[in-house]
């Protein structure tokens, strides 16, 4: 039944396919889109019968006629200013998927190529072509295929060799309209020896239903270092599907922090390939959800070459009747000797109705490696709550403080003070549940 619906959904989506996409002046882009459209025709919307989607029923997404935004509202800086990060020197703002140049600030003093995709495609096609669509495979991923087929704008960041950009680059995606789908695309290329911090930030201007289907591709060249912070604070009626792929070259370093607070249903796939020797990654995640929310995180860390290091800590704080899913796979390929990998999934259930499915997986095909993984699911400790109450804190304040403490381990790793403070405040005020 849902399959029939789903396929109609995809057919209907393709009927809205913008004709100008097939007549792009850039042959490589035309070809990329055509391949993606072909894959959409061959793929189906996933159902809970698919192993990768067992716990996440995406069918509600297909019940609403989501389309690309026809008109884009003009937002005044005053309306969105409080989302700005004071540390950022470059800020790209997108409204319902379209670039808003009036709200954006670009600082490219250091020779960095940074800006919105549709503008940069005209002047930097040769720099973008070798990367765009080369890391995020859409062969068996319907959402990545849709994003690629419909892609028309997003962010491009290419950091030249040996350049370090200290201030973070803030990519701010603002949803303002209901029943709209946006296909944000981000490309982050760190050339050898370069260093950059990027914040990919999704927010909602109103509590309405819409779809964000994003793809982010990160290429970290030899000895380069990328800090990637992804913050999903969508409307609680929204659907958020994210596919993020990072490819790590020799002795490079990728630090990823994913925070999911919003959306009715969110799914984040993070795929990190340690494609060359001595690459290092740290993958941190925090899902903080309540009421009827569902947050699903699938990560895949692929150790392909020797001497790689990966560290992963994923935490879920699950309140109300919400549901968190974590599926973390670590693969150590036969070649990847001397791999050092650890993975931890920690989960805090705040109510009896809240639910967590966690599945850390380790697949090792090399014989000289150091790998550890584990998962815990727990509740707030009544002794800890009593301790705080005995110091005068109300039951709610005590629970919020302990919840905050649980999430702080991830939030403290965010290297941007203003963002850290924003999130600390959000977490401290998050829990609404009365005592069980």
């Amino acid at each position: 039944m849902s399959e029939v619906v789903s396929n109609h959904y995809l057919e209907d989506l393709l009927k809205t396919y913008p004709p100008q996409h097939t007549t792009s002046a850039l042959p490589w882009l035309r070809q990329l889109r055509t391949e993606a459209v072909d894959r959409i025709s061959a793929l189906k919307m996933p159902t809970t019968r698919d192993e990768e989607w067992r716990f996440t029923d995406i069918s509600p997404l297909t019940e609403v006629p989501f389309q690309v935004a026809q008109t884009i509202p003009q937002l005044q800086p005053a309306e969105i200013k409080y989302h700005y990060l004071q540390e950022a020197a470059t800020r790209l703002v997108f409204i319902d998927g379209q670039y808003a140049s009036a709200l954006s600030t670009i600082n490219n003093d250091s020779g960095i190529i940074v800006g919105n995709l549709s503008t940069l495609l005209t002047s930097y096609s040769a720099e973008i072509a070798p990367h765009l669509g080369r890391y995020a495979s859409f062969n068996d991923n319907i959402f990545a295929a849709l994003n690629t087929a419909f892609l028309h704008d997003g962010a491009v960041i290419i950091v030249p060799k040996n350049i370090s950009i200290a201030p973070p680059i803030h990519l701010l995606f603002i949803a303002t309209q209901k029943e709209v789908t946006s296909y944000p695309r981000c490309l982050i290329v760190a050339e050898p020896g370069s260093h950059v911090t990027v914040v990919e930030d999704y927010i909602a201007q109103q509590e309405v239903a819409y779809v964000t289907n994003s793809v982010t591709e990160v290429s970290v060249a030899d000895d380069a270092h990328v800090n990637h912070i992804r913050l999903q604070r969508d409307s609680h009626q929204a659907f958020h599907i994210a596919n993020c792929t990072a490819t790590l070259a020799h002795a490079s370093n990728f630090q990823s922090i994913n925070v999911a607070l919003g959306a009715r249903i969110s799914r984040c796939n993070l795929n990190v390939q340690l494609a060359s020797e001595g690459a290092e990654c740290t993958v941190n995640g925090l899902a903080l959800i309540k009421e009827q929310q569902l947050a699903d995180t699938h990560t895949f860390i692929d150790h392909i070459k020797p001497n790689g290091t990966s560290r992963q800590l994923h935490k879920c704080i699950v309140d109300g009747a919400s549901h968190a899913v974590f599926n973390g796979k670590i693969m150590v390929q036969p070649n990847a000797q001397q791999t050092d990998s650890s993975q931890t999934s920690r989960n805090l259930l705040l109510t009896g109705q809240a639910q967590v499915n966690t599945k850390p997986q380790l697949e090792i095909f090399a014989d000289d490696v150091k790998c550890a993984h584990g998962a815990t699911v727990g509740q707030l400790d009544p002794e800890e709550i009593f301790y705080l109450k005995s110091r005068g804190l109300s039951g709610l304040a005590a629970r919020n403080l302990l919840t905050y403490a649980f999430g702080a381990e991830i939030i403290d790793r965010i290297p941007i003070t203003s963002l850290k403070n924003q999130l600390e405040k959000a977490v401290l005020e998050y829990t609404q549940s009365a005592e069980p």
């Binding site: 400790d381 009544p382 002794e383 800890e384 009593f386 301790y387 705080l388 109450k389 005995s390 110091r391 005068g392 804190l393 109300s394 039951g395 304040a397 005590a398 403080l401 302990l402 905050y404 403490a405 649980f406 999430g407 702080a408 381990e409 403290d412």
Partner: protein, 264 residues
Amino acid sequence: MINQNSKPLLEVQGLHATVNDVAILKGIDLTINYGEIHAIMGVNGSGKSTFAKVLAGHSAYQVTAGAVLFDGKDLLALAPEERARTGVFLAFQYPIEIPGVANSQFLRLAYNTVQTQRGKDELDPLEFDDFVREKMKLLEMNPDFLDRSVNEGFSGGEKKRNEILQMALLEPRLNILDETDSGLDIDALRVVANGVNQFTNNDNATILVTHYQRLLNYIVPDYVHVMESGRIIKTGGKELALELETRGYDWISAENSATEGAVL
């Protein structure tokens, strides 16, 4: 200090309490006046720590009979946080560690919550920092403890000092110290005891729950009570603690059963 004119702060009458339907407290009667220091001693399992937790309002313990008046008002009707705000403070035998919350943040939150409830002004982080550092000096505490997570990685002595620091900040009327001396070496014991002595006065009263007489060399009690099987079986002055140190608890126990036998 015993003062004939002082009012009762705590009046415990026939207090019975259970945990998981097992009776632990079986009729405690105790009156504590402002300014007094009472030591409660007894062997393990005599119910002394349970008594401390019942006074603080721990939800694992059910009061099945009796009454507790705090400054003339029904203490048992109050939630733990209300008891704290009205002036009951329990220094924990095993203080809880809270990784991820800075000690300064926790102390300020507790201080400001209690201040607000008492109709006083909150302190902002800078004002609080000055205030707490003064108190820490009295406890010979390193200010670095403000930046660390609450009790995380603290030694036994540091945890107990942190408890007394909270007592100093919250200015309770009833200090209940549950085995504060356990796990302390002699230097730490002296520092903690000095701290307690600085914060005890005629506007508050103190209950010392302890196993050993040694703490009482530093904090001199006005009364010593011996608990056994959930009741106070003997009350004396500070010399009773010394007698317990030399003779143990058995003789009181025997004396008590003899008395009970006579009554029956």
